[in-house]
C-alpha cells in the first residue's frame, strides 16, 4: 500500500497511463493489425478513403469507448457497493443486479418489441433497482444482520431466478436466441455511438454525483452508529449511493450484457494500492476497471480467431480464482 500523497498521485498517473496504453492496444490490435501511426492518424487526421481509418472509426473506436464506459462504471459501482454494505464480496454481478437488468431488458425485447435503445434504458434501470432492493432487503435484515454469506446466497438465488426466467423467454422466442445469447455472455462489440448516446448523460451524472459524495462514502465505511453521530444522514446517503449503483450497473448491462467480476476484483486491487480513502480508491477503480475491460476485450479477439469470445465469460474465468482467494481469506472471520 502507498502512503504519501506523492506516491499515490504517481500511482494514479500510472493507472491513467495503463488505461491509455490498453486503449490504444484495443484500437490497434485485432483481425487487421495496425501500426500506431495509422491509429494516430485515424483518430486525429481522419481520411475516409483509407480502409484502416474506416475500421478504426466505425468499429474499433466505439468498442474501446464502450469498454472504458462499462469497465469504469462496473468497477465504481462495485467499490460503492463494498463501501455501502461493508461486505468484501459485494459487486453488481454477485448481488443479482446484472441478472435483474438482463431479465427486464429481455422481457422488453420479447413482449414490447421495442426498437430503440433509449426505450429499454429504463427497463434496465428498473430491473437493476428491483434486483438490488430485493437482495439488499432479503440479505441484510434479520437476526444475522450484515451476514456476508446470507446476502451472497440471496444474490446467487436471485441471479438464478432471473437467469432462469431469461432462459425461459429465450426458449419461447427462439429467433432472437443467437443475438441475445451473445449478449448474455457479455460483449462490447458492435454497439454504435448512436446507441451509446442516450446512456452517456446518465453515466456522467452518476460519476459526478459519486465525486460529490466521496466524503460521505468514506464515513459509510464506519459503523452505522458512528457515521450517524458524525452527522451523517445515513439513510439519505444510502439511497443516493444505491441510485448511483443502479444507474451505473444497469446502464452497463443494457449496453454490454452480463459482465461479471470486474466490480468485485477492481475495488480490491484499488484498495490494496491506495488504502481505504475513497478519494483515491474511486478514481483508481474507474481507471483500472477501464483497463481490465479493454485488456479483456482485446484478448477475447485472439483466443479462437476468427471468432470472438464473449468478454463477460472471459472476465468470469479471470475473476473466479480471485473470488475464491478472497472467500478463503475472509471466511473464518465471517
Amino acid at each position: 500500500m502507498l502512503h504519501t500523497p506523492f506516491t499515490k498521485s504517481l500511482a494514479l498517473s500510472g493507472c491513467l497511463l495503463l488505461t491509455l496504453v490498453t486503449g490504444f492496444a484495443s484500437i490497434a490490435l485485432g483481425q487487421t493489425a495496425m501500426s500506431l501511426d495509422t491509429v494516430w492518424q485515424a483518430l486525429f487526421a481522419y481520411d475516409d478513403s483509407v480502409v484502416n481509418h474506416i475500421i478504426v472509426r466505425a468499429n474499433r473506436l466505439n468498442r474501446a469507448v464502450l469498454a472504458v464506459l462499462v469497465g469504469s462504471s462496473l468497477a465504481v459501482s462495485g467499490a460503492l457497493m463494498q463501501a455501502l454494505t461493508r461486505n468484501a464480496l459485494a459487486s453488481p454481478s454477485l448481488f443479482g443486479i446484472n441478472a435483474g437488468a438482463l431479465f427486464f431488458v429481455a422481457l422488453a425485447f420479447t413482449f414490447l418489441s421495442l426498437t430503440s435503445v433509449s426505450q429499454f434504458i429504463w427497463f434496465a434501470y428498473l430491473g437493476a433497482a428491483v434486483a438490488g432492493v430485493l437482495v439488499y432487503v432479503l440479505g441484510m435484515s434479520g437476526p444475522a444482520g450484515l451476514s456476508p454469506v446470507r446476502i451472497v446466497l440471496a444474490g446467487a438465488a436471485m441471479t438464478a431466478l432471473f437467469v432462469a426466467f431469461t432462459q425461459g423467454l429465450l426458449i419461447l422466442n427462439q429467433e432472437s436466441l443467437e443475438g441475445i445469447l451473445y449478449w448474455l455472455g457479455g460483449s462490447v462489440a458492435g454497439t454504435s455511438f448512436d446507441t451509446m448516446k442516450p446512456f452517456v448523460p446518465f453515466f456522467l451524472i452518476a460519476l459526478f454525483a459519486t465525486a460529490l459524495l466521496v466524503r460521505q462514502i468514506n464515513l459509510m465505511m464506519l459503523d452505522e452508529a458512528v457515521a450517524r453521530s458524525l452527522g451523517q444522514r445515513v439513510l439519505a446517503t444510502r439511497l443516493a449511493l444505491g441510485a448511483i449503483v443502479v444507474v451505473l450497473a444497469g446502464g452497463s448491462v443494457a449496453l454490454a450484457g452480463m459482465i461479471g467480476f470486474i466490480g468485485l476484483i477492481i475495488p480490491h486491487l484499488a484498495r490494496g494500492l491506495f488504502g481505504r480513502d475513497h478519494r483515491w480508491v474511486l478514481p483508481a477503480s474507474a481507471l483500472l476497471g477501464a483497463s481490465l475491460m479493454l485488456g479483456a476485450d482485446t484478448l477475447s479477439r485472439f483466443i479462437v480467431p476468427p471468432q470472438e469470445i464473449p468478454v463477460g465469460a472471459l472476465t468470469a474465468l479471470v475473476g473466479t480464482p480471485f473470488f475464491i482467494i478472497v472467500a478463503r481469506k475472509r471466511s473464518p472471520a465471517l
Binding site: 434479520g142 446467487a156 432462459q167 455472455g185 471468432q307 469470445i309 465469460a313 474465468l317 473466479t320 478463503r328
Partner: protein
C-alpha cells in the same frame, strides 16, 4: 400422545415415530400418487382413470401406446428427478446450515451442465446414451473441486458455499463459451437441455436413473440422525460424538450423487432443491426423516406439476418443465425469504 413407540421386550431397541411425521408423510405420498394418476390421464387425449389402469397393466388395451410408452415413463422420471433434487437440497441446506443453499446455486448442477453442453457440442459422434454418465461425472468433478478448494485444514460450511458460488460462475462462463462457439442447431438443443425438460423420456431413462435413486435415497434416510446433528455448530456435533468431517463428506457425496443423476436425465431443472425442503418443513414436521421424505414427495410433485403444465396448457407445444418450476418457485422463494427476515 405425539409419538408411537415401538420397542422389543428387553428394551434394547426402540423406534419412535412422530405422529405428525407419520400422518404428514402418508398424506404427501397419497397426494403424490393422485398427481401421478392425474398426469397419466391428462394430455392431448384425455383418458379416464380406469382406462389408464387397463392400459398400464393389459397389453392389448387401445391406449397402451399413449399410457405405457409415452406418459408413464415420463411421469416416473419426473417423480424420480424431483425426489432426487428435493432430498439433495434438503441435505445440502442442513450441511451448510443455510436455508438458501441448493445444488443449482452451489455449482453441482453447473458441473453437470458443462459436461452435457460439451458433449452436445463436440461429442456428436457418440450416442446420446453417454450424456447421463458424463453429466454425473461432471457434477462429481465440480463438487470435488469445490470441496478441495474450500479445504483449509477442514471444510467450513461458509467456505463451501462461497467457493461453490464462485465455481458456479466460472462453469456458467464455460457453458456460455461453448454455446457461443458451437453451431446454432446445437445451441438450441443445449439450451433446452439447460432449462430442463422431460420431453421424450423413455423407459431406459427411468431404468438408468432408478439405481441411483434406489441406493442413494435409502442411504440418506439411514444417515438422517447424523444429518440432524449436522445442523448444530461443529463443536456441538463433535461433543455429541459425531464424526463431523467424515459424515459431512459422506452426506455431501449422497447429495451430489442425487442431484447429479437427476440433472443428468432431466437437464438443469432449477429451484426444486431450494424449494422442496421449505415446502416439506410445513408439511411433514421437523424430524429429519420426515423432512427428507417430505422433500422427496414435494420435489417429485413440483416436477410432475411443472411437466404437466408444460405439456398440456400450451398444446401442441411441449415446453420445458424447468420454466414452470422457476415460474412457480421464484415468487414462492421470494415470499420465503421475506417471511424469514424476522
Amino acid at each position: 400422545m405425539s409419538h408411537v413407540l415401538l420397542r422389543n421386550r428387553s428394551q434394547s431397541l426402540a423406534l419412535a415415530f412422530h405422529r405428525r411425521t407419520l400422518i404428514g408423510c402418508a398424506l404427501a405420498l397419497l397426494a403424490l400418487s393422485g398427481l401421478l394418476l392425474l398426469s397419466l390421464c391428462l394430455g392431448s387425449s384425455v383418458l379416464t382413470p380406469t382406462e389408464v389402469f387397463s392400459a398400464a397393466f393389459q397389453a392389448d388395451s387401445d391406449h397402451r401406446f399413449v399410457v405405457h410408452t409415452l406418459r408413464l415413463p415420463r411421469a416416473l422420471l419426473a417423480v424420480l428427478v424431483g425426489a432426487g433434487l428435493g432430498v439433495s437440497g434438503a441435505v445440502l441446506q442442513q450441511l451448510v446450515r443455510n436455508p438458501l443453499a441448493s445444488p443449482d446455486i452451489v455449482g453441482v448442477t453447473d458441473g453437470a451442465a458443462v459436461a452435457a453442453v460439451l458433449f452436445l457440442a463436440w461429442g456428436s459422434a457418440l450416442s446420446l446414451d453417454w450424456l447421463p454418465p458424463l453429466a454425473i461425472a461432471g457434477a462429481l468433478v465440480s463438487s470435488a473441486l469445490i470441496y478441495g478448494l474450500a479445504w483449509r485444514g477442514g471444510v467450513l460450511p461458509i467456505r463451501l458455499v462461497l467457493v461453490g458460488i464462485a465455481l458456479a460462475a466460472a462453469l456458467k462462463a464455460i457453458t456460455t463459451l461453448v454455446l457461443v462457439m458451437s453451431p446454432l442447431s446445437t445451441t438450441v438443443r443445449a439450451y433446452v437441455w439447460l432449462t430442463g425438460s422431460l420431453y421424450g423420456a423413455q423407459w431406459q431413462d427411468v431404468g438408468g436413473l432408478l439405481p441411483w435413486s434406489l441406493t442413494l435415497l435409502p442411504l440418506t434416510l439411514l444417515f438422517a440422525r447424523q444429518l440432524g446433528l449436522m445442523g448444530m455448530t461443529d463443536s456441538h456435533a463433535l461433543g455429541l460424538g459425531l464424526a463431523v468431517a467424515r459424515y459431512r463428506l459422506l452426506l455431501l457425496v449422497c447429495s451430489v450423487g442425487l442431484a447429479g443423476s437427476a440433472v443428468a436425465f432431466a437437464g438443469g431443472i432449477g429451484f426444486v432443491g431450494l424449494l422442496a425442503p421449505h415446502l416439506a418443513r410445513g408439511l411433514t414436521g421437523q424430524t429429519m426423516v420426515g423432512r427428507l421424505i417430505g422433500s422427496a414427495c414435494t420435489g417429485a410433485a413440483l416436477v410432475l406439476i411443472a411437466d404437466l403444465i408444460g405439456r398440456t396448457l400450451f398444446l401442441p407445444q411441449d415446453l420445458p418443465a424447468g420454466i414452470f418450476v422457476s415460474a412457480v418457485g421464484a415468487p414462492f422463494f421470494i415470499y420465503l425469504l421475506y417471511r424469514r427476515r424476522h
